[in-house]
């Protein structure tokens, strides 16, 4: 699926004396770097091959036959109609989390990099890094035991005042084991990584350009808009994609919070509507027949493809305005 670049013709070596030791180091370094590159590709290929090979039975067996052996597989479904809602639920959860996390992360990162006094900025930076160190099971426990109770009344309020928006259609479930709660936990989980990436790129904005904006009579916020954010755009996209990747694959938090359903439903305040691929694999894996395992692996393959597609899209976005990227 991925091809290595063909070896480019090497430039004629400049005439320069090299000691044998130098040459040895050169060769060793080249070997190590080529080797690691090849290893990554090999691992990627191995995973892909494993997924396709193990998913194959499920992809080629008619849905009715799978349903005979596997209790949770709907009788009248094909594999595609089974995986469809899962893909939908996965994307919905990840996108919701991203929509909440990205603006907040940018805000926190800007505060740390450009507004907070030095001491506070350092402390906040540590706090954000600590958030990243919390295991996802802990987030899941916190979400299921505390957050679900806490957001219940808020979701009810949302449903009664904004219920005319399909997303917030009521009645809000009690307890709030719903998509929006899971997405909030996912957002908290991906917040640190996005914030950390954003903070780094914001701090790297050249002083030169910040001063150019200030000298034109920009306020601090205008300076950020003119010099910092455009410079950081591709970094923000990369950070968001890292977060999206984590949100797409996150298992425990969703598993522990969301009351699952298999619908194409935007009702994020109601229970039993959606499920994500990763949480579904974890939920069904233990007691699945061989064909059931194969089905689950096939859904894993779908997740793999989605993640790859998301990454490629991100790269395309970053590359689109390369001329204006600031690398000159």
């Amino acid at each position: 699926m991925t091809s290595t670049a063909p070896p480019t013709a090497r430039a004629t070596p400049a005439r320069r004396r090299r000691t044998p030791r130098d040459r040895g180091m050169n060769r060793a370094f080249r070997l190590v770097s080529t080797g690691s590159g090849a290893l990554i590709l090999a691992v990627l290929a191995a995973v892909a091959i494993f997924l396709v090979a193990r998913a194959w039975p499920a992809l080629t067996t008619p849905g009715a036959e799978i349903a005979q052996d596997v209790g949770w597989f709907p009788a009248d479904a094909s594999f595609l109609s089974f995986v469809g809602p899962l893909v939908f639920g996965t994307l919905l959860a990840a996108v919701l989390a991203l929509v909440m996390a990205v603006p907040l992360s940018i805000g926190i990162a800007l505060f740390i990099s450009h507004y907070a006094p030095r001491r506070l900025a350092t402390a906040l930076g540590y706090a954000v890094d600590l958030l990243a160190a919390i295991p996802s099971v802990v987030y899941g426990l916190w979400g299921a035991m505390t957050l679900v109770g806490f957001v219940g009344p808020i979701w009810e309020w949302l449903a009664s005042f904004l219920g005319w928006i399909p997303l917030f259609e009521g009645p809000a479930a009690t307890p709030a084991r719903v998509m929006l709660t899971a997405a909030v936990v996912l957002a908290v989980m991906i917040l640190p990584i996005i914030t950390a990436v954003c903070r780094e790129v914001f701090l790297q904005t050249p002083k030169l350009h910040e001063e150019a904006a200030l000298a034109l009579g920009a306020t601090r916020w205008e300076m950020i808009r003119t010099a910092v954010l455009p410079f950081a755009r591709s970094g923000i996209v990369s950070g968001a994609m890292l977060g999206l990747g984590r949100a797409l694959g996150e298992t425990m938090a969703v598993l522990m919070i969301l009351s699952p359903g298999f619908l194409y439903s935007f009702a994020i305040l109601q229970a039993g509507q959606q499920q994500t691929i990763a949480a579904n694999i974890a939920a069904q894996y233990a007691d699945a027949a061989p064909i059931g395992v194969s089905t689950l692996i096939a859904t894993g393959l779908a997740l793999f493809v989605i993640t790859m597609a998301v990454n490629m899209a991100a790269r395309a976005i970053v590359a689109r305005r390369k001329d204006f990227s600031g690398a000159n």
């Binding site: 030095r118 050249p206 000298a215 034109l216 001329d323 600031g326």
Partner: protein
């Protein structure tokens, strides 16, 4: 348009470090004033107090007054942002915004003040500013290309165009040619001679021939030793400063470089 600046008893600090001591001078409108002196004597530091850019550095502060047509720029009710709109600045290294096209760069400052400028007005202003910066003929066919794609000299003139697009009263330039080749340097010097018809121009330069060529008045700064504050030694008409300076230090510095 052009304005007169009176500096009185100005002391400049970086935290506890006293960088420049006790400067008083008058800068005439519609003229070019050059600052010369050995490096580290505080020319840039002093220049940056004239548009309140000094204080963007954490811990940096100023004592004394800088009055523009009688109004103290450091007065309590003065907004530094407004000062910077009135006093434009060109930096040592050309710094067009890398994510913006040539046209967007010229308009960057204008857009801050006037968000709804019409397309036609914007196009006029872009042309007028680029013509004013002697860059129009070179870039008129590629206004939507990145500003960072120009040569160093062109980038610096783009920065001048960006500064004059907001119609400031004063233009500060901190060694604007030190990163440029001789041809681009000449282009900028010619431009300075034209710009002084409409602006008060203050230029820092380490090149004394340049000071002699472009300026009407020259101020010589010096420093007694590392860790000591820089001081204004003397200031006068450029011709006099270079032919018969009053202070021995000025003469030493000028003749040292020429000889």
């Amino acid at each position: 348009m052009a304005q007169r600046i009176d500096v009185k008893d100005l002391d400049i600090y970086y935290g506890d470090f006293h960088a420049v001591a006790d400067v008083s001078m008058t800068i005439d409108p519609r003229s070019v004033t050059a600052f010369i002196g050995p490096s580290g004597c505080g020319k840039s530091t002093f220049l940056r107090t004239l548009n309140r850019m000094h204080e963007v550095i954490p811990g940096a502060r100023v004592e004394g007054t800088v009055a523009m047509e009688g109004v103290d720029l450091y007065g309590d009710d003065i907004d530094p942002v407004a000062v910077r709109r009135q006093v434009g600045m060109v930096f040592q290294r050309p710094n067009p915004f890398p994510t913006m096209s040539i046209q967007e760069n010229v308009l960057a400052g204008v857009k801050l003040v006037n968000k709804r400028i019409s397309k036609a007005d914007a196009a006029d202003l872009v042309e007028q500013s680029l013509v004013g910066a002697n860059l129009w003929n070179e870039v008129k066919d590629r206004l939507d290309k990145p500003g960072a794609g120009l040569s160093g000299g062109q980038q610096q003139r783009l920065c001048i165009a960006r500064a004059i697009a907001v119609k400031p009263d004063v233009l500060l330039m901190d060694e604007p040619c030190s990163a440029l080749d001789p041809i681009s340097t000449l282009a900028i010097e010619d431009l300075i001679a034209e710009l002084k018809q409409s602006y008060t121009i203050v230029i820092v330069t380490h090149n004394m021939q340049q000071a002699a060529r472009v300026s009407d008045r020259t101020a010589f700064f010096n420093i007694a030793g590392t860790g000591k504050p820089g001081r204004l030694i003397e200031m006068g008409d450029t011709g006099t400063m270079f032919s018969s300076p009053t202070e021995k230090a000025t003469e030493d510095y000028i003749s040292g470089r020429f000889g």
